[in-house]
């Protein structure tokens, strides 16, 4: 073999082969930054590979590799961002793609490629920056874990894959990286695999997202079948550029959908799976079993945002054929599901007691906001909330991690309290994050982004339903965040007496502070007066007009939203903070609340929530997440189990039984025969009986699990098939004998 392949290499080198790597540029040749854009995902992946080779003791090296690689990526991303800014500053529409043939199968070329446009640039900077902070933070958080290097290997791999998703210009490349991201998410949720709950959560996350991804893949294949390319933009020949879209619109699919609509819905199913939209949201809260930095990075800031980013990326496809002021089917679906998710998440978050679980549900709800923003207000609105949310939700999660770290791995907010004394930095930064999340007016970024979404939903021509849902969601958001903060930081320490909380190390608090600054500061980029972000994304010239505020309906809406926020904060304060939540009389036995989905059942000395005492029924429903898991367990899982049982039964009883039955029948026949003729007719029948007995023996022996028997049957079958083929062929004249 070696000789063959070697000589093949030889003869290949001998006659100069032109490689079929064709680079297609959109305009002239792109800037160097665009050419080396692939380095941004490549470097962290390389780092992951290197870290995988390290041994456990080499912690510093591992962390150094991961952080260093991501820092380089961050620099490159900033370079790309400035490039985009400069192009935009010159009034151009910055969109540069590089694509190359990946596989040539006959005439069909599978093309991959990467793209640099405002959308990608902004996401790149956000992911690399937040990721870098979280990497630094995790060096402190995971310091005492014995699988330190493995953790950073997975983290870097995730970062690389996520950046790949961002810069992908080909739906295929995007899908590949998308799957790697899913894999790393699985690995990291199950990072502490010795915890059964963690293993189960990892499996759940993987399978649930798989459901979405199957539809996504279908969509991809369909799109390829329709347009013949998977590139997004390919100077006019891309899959989501006008020519292809026109073709897709003219193509009718089932249920009165156009092909564009159907594909859009399929892709949205994938997005819903990744970013926890309503039917497929179940995995996200359980994902909190992973280490907290993971929850912050993957399940709050970046990965779950990938779904939103995907919708934003294929927005032209989703909105294809929308009449002016109208909406398309897919966008309507997105809007409604997003709104429902937003409300659902907010509702459930009210009744959770696990600090990370509350944040998880708030993430679900915020993702719903983003979807609505995309569907009703266009790319910019949704993306702006994505960016701001990434910062303050990462901040909140890291704060929660710091709290958990400080409270000795305690996650139940009922056993915390009074931490504002002991963990001051965490408290302040957490408060900033909480205000930003609940949309405290003017000063916090959350206000502007969320307000933009609400405004867009208000202006949505199709229906006012999402608008109302979002408003209720906003109210609830403010409420549950206040509740959480009151539980955790206000009041007095309710943990076991002998313990006391302590502030986390500097390496953990520093990222918190930086994130807090951004959680506040980002707001100014998205004010209606100075819509910097929007005009960047849509690459329109930027103008500062103050009269934007005075346009009809804007200020009243803002005021109303603000009112709701204040109402939520006030209610929370009234219920939980007005008189501090006190330690229950009997001291709680200190054990972890890791097994998931068990908040409602009480353990000795857990204090009863105010709402719970007031309206237990509603509380139970909320605390059990509206029994979604139970519903799935009762329906889907049970069907699967039944199916498996059925096939097993068939295999054991029917087929096996058949053979055994025949065999025994023959045996019995033979035996009867034998006895009969032993009494009646002398040995004339002996032969026949023996034949029958051996026949029964043969039939039983067929199933005896012996290879030669199987081989013979196999050969017989092949023989029969060949003969059949010959005969039929001769009859039909395809084989001339």
């Amino acid at each position: 073999m070696i000789a063959c392949s070697a000589s093949l290499i030889a003869s290949w080198l001998a006659q100069d082969q032109a490689s079929n790597f064709t680079v297609a540029y959109v305009d002239g040749n792109p800037a160097t930054i665009v050419r080396i854009l692939w380095l941004i995902p490549a470097i962290p992946m390389l780092a992951a590979g290197l870290i995988a080779l390290l041994r456990q003791p080499q912690r510093r090296l591992a962390a150094g590799l991961a952080i260093g690689s991501l820092a380089i990526s961050l620099l490159l991303a900033i370079g790309a961002f400035t490039h985009v800014l400069s192009v935009w500053g010159q009034g151009g529409a910055p969109r540069e793609v590089i694509s190359f043939n990946w596989i040539d199968l006959g005439t069909t070329h599978l093309q991959l490629g990467w793209i640099l446009d405002p959308l990608a640039a902004v996401m790149l900077v956000m992911v690399t920056f937040v990721g870098l902070l979280i990497f630094i933070y995790s060096t402190g958080y995971m310091a005492h874990d014995e699988n330190f290097t493995r953790f950073f290997c997975f983290l870097s791999l995730f970062a690389g894959a996520m950046l790949g998703v961002i810069i992908a210009n080909s739906l295929l490349l995007l899908f590949m990286c998308w799957e790697i991201v899913g894999l790393t998410s699985y690995l990291l949720i199950g990072f502490w695999y010795h915890k059964p709950s963690a293993a189960a959560a990892a499996k759940k996350a993987f399978l649930t997202t798989r459901i979405g991804d199957i539809f996504f893949l279908l969509g991809i294949v369909w799109l390829f079948a329709q347009t013949g390319t998977l590139l997004f933009y390919n100077h006019g020949a891309g899959a989501i550029e006008p020519t292809a879209l026109a073709a897709l619109l003219s193509q009718p699919a089932a249920l009165g959908l156009t092909a564009a609509g159907a594909i859009g819905l399929l892709i949205f199913a994938g997005a819903a799976g990744k970013s926890g939209q309503l039917p497929l949201h179940v995995w996200l809260p359980d994902a909190m079993e992973g280490p907290t930095p993971v929850s912050a990075l993957i399940h709050a800031a970046t990965m779950v945002a990938a779904g939103v980013y995907l919708i934003a990326r294929v927005y032209p496809l989703m909105s294809a054929g929308a009449v002016a002021g109208g909406s398309t089917v897919s966008l309507t679906v997105v809007a409604w599901i997003g709104a429902l998710t937003a409300l659902f998440g907010a509702l459930v978050a009210v009744a959770q007691n696990d600090i990370k679980r509350i944040l998880a549900y708030s993430t679900v709800s915020q993702l719903g906001y983003m979807m609505v923003g995309l569907a009703t207000g266009g790319v910019a609105v949704g993306m702006f909330h994505l960016i701001t949310h990434a910062f303050f939700k990462a901040l909140l999660f890291l704060g929660a991690g710091s709290v958990i770290h400080g409270c000795h791995e305690e996650q139940d907010i009922r056993r915390m309290g009074g931490l504002r004394h002991t963990m001051l930095v965490t408290f302040l930064t957490y408060a900033v994050g909480m205000l930003a999340l609940s949309g405290f007016p003017i000063f916090f970024s959350g206000f502007w982004s969320k307000d933009a979404i609400i405004g867009a939903a208000h202006g949505w021509p199709v229906s006012q339903g999402p608008f109302v849902l979002l408003l209720i969601g906003a109210l609830l958001t403010a409420f549950y965040m206040t509740r959480q903060v009151a539980y955790v930081f206000l009041g007095s320490w309710r943990g076991p007496e002998h313990t006391h909380a302590h502030e986390s190390p500097r390496v953990m608090t520093l990222p918190l502070s930086i994130l807090a600054v951004f959680a506040v500061g980002l707001g100014i980029f998205g004010t209606p007066a100075w819509p910097w972000f929007t005009s960047l994304i849509e690459s329109r010239p930027l103008t500062l007009e103050m009269q934007a505020f005075s346009e009809p309906g804007l200020l009243p809406l803002m005021g109303f939203a603000t009112l709701l926020v204040f109402a939520g904060l006030g209610a929370g304060w009234w219920l939980y903070a007005r008189k501090a939540v006190q330690r229950p009389v009997s001291a709680p036995v200190h054990h972890h609340t890791q097994e998931h989905g068990d908040e409602p059942q009480h353990r000795a000395g857990d204090l009863v929530d105010v709402l719970e005492s007031s309206s237990p029924v509603v509380w139970r429903w909320l605390a059990n997440r509206l029994y979604f898991d139970e519903l799935y367990a009762a329906t889907v899982l049970r069907w699967y189990a039944a199916l498996a049982q059925l096939s097993d039964w068939l295999d054991r009883r029917v087929w096996g039984g058949l053979v055994a039955g025949v065999a025994t029948a023959f045996r019995g026949l033979g035996a009867a025969n034998k006895s009969l003729d032993s009494q009646w007719i002398d040995g004339g029948f002996d032969k026949g009986c023996e034949e029958l007995v051996t026949g029964g023996g043969v039939l039983a022996w067929l199933q005896a699990g012996r290879a030669p028997g199987y081989l013979r049957m196999l050969a017989l079958g092949v023989l029969a098939l060949v003969g059949l083929a010959l005969v039929v062929g001769t009859m039909t004249g395809q084989v001339r004998l």
Partner: protein
């Protein structure tokens, strides 16, 4: 004429080797006669102007597969005294099936082919052209075969290795589950 005689000799050699492999009792003898068959087939390839394939056949089968078989025989204690019963129970059926297969194939061949197919000039199958084809139009199969060989190599090693159940590996298994 000479070619015809050569062909007959080679074919006889090949068939003889195969038959010997089928009937001999001693496993090593079977393996050795198998290599005779391989060599005969390689010669047939050469007669069909398929130099590269012929040499590849020798290199792979005689150089690697035969050695592998012999090693396997020695490792499974098969090399000692010949087995008392070399044929599996109900071998007759197998023989019948084989004979039927041959009859069917031969019948099809003889019936379907004119005795003399017009033989064109020997196709240009220089190593150069083969390499070029492999690297241009057959590159995907080549890659796949490369992957397959790697996988087979690793897989064979792992399968044939004695299982080592250290606590470490145990822990890993637990993790995987």
């Amino acid at each position: 004429m000479i070619v015809g005689i050569a062909f007959l000799l080679i074919a006889a050699l090949t068939i003889a080797g195969a038959v010997a492999a089928a009937v001999l009792r001693n496993l090593v003898h079977c393996a050795l006669s198998l290599t005779v068959t391989f060599a005969g087939l390689a010669l047939l390839y050469l007669q069909l102007d398929a130099q590269f394939a012929g040499f590849a056949q020798i290199l792979v089968y005689i150089g690697a597969v035969a050695i592998l078989v012999v090693f396997a025989i020695l490792l499974t204690r098969g090399a000692g005294i010949p087995e008392y019963r070399g044929f599996s129970s109900g071998w007759l059926l197998g023989l019948v099936i084989a004979a039927a297969t041959f009859a069917l194939l031969a019948w099809a061949v003889i019936k379907s082919l004119p005795a003399q197919v017009a033989t064109g000039a020997a196709p240009a199958a220089t190593v150069q052209s083969i390499g070029a084809a492999l690297m241009s139009s057959y590159v995907l199969p080549l890659e796949i075969v490369a992957v397959l060989l790697t996988v087979a190599l690793i897989g064979a090693v792992i399968v044939a290795m004695p299982e080592s159940t250290t606590p470490q590996s145990k822990a890993e298994d637990g993790g995987g589950r």
